[in-house]
Amino acid sequence: MTVVGTRMVRKEDPELLTGESRFVDDLVIPGARWLAMVRSPHAHARIGSIDASEALAMPGVEAVLTGPDLRDAWVAPMPCAWPVTDDMGNPEHFPVALDKACYVGDIVAVVVADSRYHAADGVDGVVVDYEPLDVVVDLEDSLTDRVVIHDALGTNRSYTWELIPDPEAVDQAFASAVHVVKERYLQQRLIPAAMEPRGVAVVPQPHGGEFTLWSATQIPHVLKVMLTATAGVPEHKLRVVAPAVGGGFGSKLNVYAEELITLAVARQLRVPARWTEERGENAHATIQGRGQIQDIELAADADGKVTAVRVHLLADMGAYLQLVAPGIPLLGAFLYHGLYDVPAYSFTCTSVFTNKTPTDAYRGAGRPEATYAIERAMDALARTMGIGPDEVRRRNFIPTEAFPYNSAGGLVFDSGDYAPNLAKALDLVRWDERKAEQARRREAGDPVQLGLGISTYVEMCGLAPSRVLASLKYGAGGWEAAQVRVLPTGTVQVVTGATPHGQGHETTWSMLVADKLGVDTDDIEVLHSDTAISPIGMDTYGSRSLAVGGTAIVMAADQVVDKARTIAAHQLEVAEEDLDFAGGLFTVAGSPDKELSIQALAFEAFTAHDLPDGMEPNLHASVSWDPPNFVFPFGSHIAVVEIDTDTGHVELVDYVAVDDCGNQVNPLIVEGQIHGGIAQGVAQALFEEAVYDEDGILKNPTLMDYLVPSTMELPSFTLDHTTTPSPTNPMGAKGIGEAGTIASTPAVMNAVVDALSPYGITDIDMPATPERVWQAIQAAGDGSSNGGTP
């Protein structure tokens, strides 16, 4: 009985449901000192004197450390592992600021105390003398260098990056175009807001020289390398552990100042040290997502066939570059033509610094931005031509027979079958019926208008072929590692380099190995997230863990079965080809007395009493696998909104998603990933924005006014799927963790614009708040004020 493909409930749940799991703040560390950070309240200021005398006089406060106090702790500045161009400007910065604070939240001092309450008290007792400087928050203003943030660079421009394989072809296409669409969209800053704030704990062994660091991180393996490179702790003496982690969405994929600071303080004071983030800190000091001005142009022929796409981005890095921040806009660089067969392509991105929280990866990381721009622009093309948004897409889909498809940007899309997928979604949402309802309401002048919005997407995930990463100047590889061990008493351990934080890896890897080895999923334990237990890995982000990590696991499992087969053949004195393997048992057709279970063979491998000549003992296999390509999930999402034209309120009343991630290992988990992804993408369209004023102050750093959706803001979703296997890996599986977010934002905004089209409205900035919608309706004028037909 196979389990892959079934809706198996998760193995990880009982400990999470009972509160038994240990998140970083749950760890009990006797003798640990609590750290609290003194953060700049100014977006741009020179740091003068720091007077800690009041803090040091408070009960329980043991030390206050400033930037100069900790300068010798660092052997290198904070790391950026993606220098996207040779001339990229990367201002040197350290975990605790030295001369200047460059954003609200920048750390200027560290309080060390005996309890979390005393550490927090201490922060109020540190008096910092700031000399405020001019602030730059607007991207176009930053580009003028009116206010230069980093003197060493002399400019706010970090880099300009281009992907223009054939500039003449692009110019030609626009010169001869029948239809040209030219749009500007704003990608507002988002706060990832994982429910678990960040936290770090470090236990040193002062005489032994070892350090154990726990962090709410998505990347223990990468973090370990970077901690060594920055704080000089020898890599072979450093153990990094991600305990239970409460969500990441890319925001826990970074090397943070607080991680380095906690390590340095523990080393310096020779005691355990720990820090837990408050939500208000999280809004300021955890990376934010998005932040772009997008200019996109489409050239199309008389039939609406897009002949060229030209894109220019202005991207917001924030105050300093983070671990992979410069590359985030570039992860979308190859996808601004979407899943359409576009022959000519031009992409340029300029990234600048601002006096705001640094940006980096947030669910989708560059690909939601790309999908948003092309999907909104395709609707604009449809409007220009007077054809339906479904029709303009059908005319432009990459045809099924074109796969594997060589895209204009230079990628090979592995597999796709777009038209039937869209047809399924249109059917599921009852498109014609709803369009008729929309027409009826318009005719009747109903104050509550209906809007339907389509988003057809392709995304590139399963990061990534290491050679492609090299060509993009990414500082690491994209492989993943696995070990499968059958223990002497017959149970199985799977060691993975992937690092789950809610995605159900333990269940999914157990299912894969259960089918391969013919063992029960309860007899498999998945080990992960601890560099002492899983020493090799590239961690979890970019929807890579199944496509890349899962492949390493199934390859290792295959090797285990192959080795077991060789031992069985040897011990049963038959040829390997004469052995059948099913249900964990090797048998010989016609010889019922000849059989050996994989558990028995594991014990044989352990005793090594009778192994073939030259064979190593133990039934283990280790694999590191580098994928030959990305994987390209795709789908069609359709949003149905109701807009109250009297108040501007937008209600998402229905949402259909038909996704294709190839072969599914656990549809229950796949659906959960899509649900969560949709929620975050809808939130960008309707609710969320990190709002900064002209002084660089974040106006909404709490969950009261940064509107992470609750149960009341979202409907239940209608999901279906198609299955187009990927040729990129043996499972035929593609990633799905970010696809929901990538698809949903333009689906909702296209629906909003569709609802408002009788007013002649063609764009609303995100989020489409009631105020924005209402203002747009008022500005549109005629027909709205007297309740007549719009």
Partner: protein
């Protein structure tokens, strides 16, 4: 200040600062780390417990205010190794992913069904409005609570 609280049936007498939050007293002093802190404005509900049978966000209550009360935390729901029906429903319906909001969500859901044994989907959404989740999009949480309600009927 002295405070005596019964938590999951066990009596705990402690000396605490007046300003100590109940959630910190439960987590740090009594070692019951299942209840989580997710925000600083009582917006997220990760800290939800039952106080004398009613759901309360334990970050909005001082430990001393719990003096003489009966608290139930997530650790008090299961009966030995047997999960509470709400916990079972969450598992069956995949109503959790990272699990950080889950203890508070489950406690709030238990309290919801206690007050409204036969809720509609709209009732469940309204009843859980004070509990934020960033992973699930709520779809399966709603299913889990309706399933638990159905099972209890």
């Amino acid at each position: 200040m002295q405070t005596t609280i019964t938590v999951n049936g066990s009596v705990h007498a402690s000396e605490v600062e007046g300003r100590r939050l109940l959630v910190h007293h439960l987590r740090d002093d009594l070692g019951l780390t299942g209840t989580n802190v997710g925000c600083d404005t009582s917006s997220c509900g990760a800290c939800t417990v039952l106080v004398d049978g009613r759901s309360v966000k334990s970050c909005t209550m001082l430990a001393v205010q719990a003096d003489g009360r009966q608290i139930t935390t997530i650790e008090g729901l299961a009966d030995g190794s047997t999960l509470h029906p709400m916990q079972e429903a969450f598992r069956a319906c995949h109503g959790l992913q990272c699990g950080f909001c889950t203890p508070g969500m489950v406690m709030a859901a238990v309290s919801l069904l206690d007050e409204q044994p036969d809720p509609t989907e709209a009732d469940v959404r309204e009843g859980l409005e004070g509990n934020l989740c960033r992973c699930t999009g709520y779809h399966n949480i709603i299913k889990a609570v309706l399933s638990a309600a159905g099972a209890e009927r």
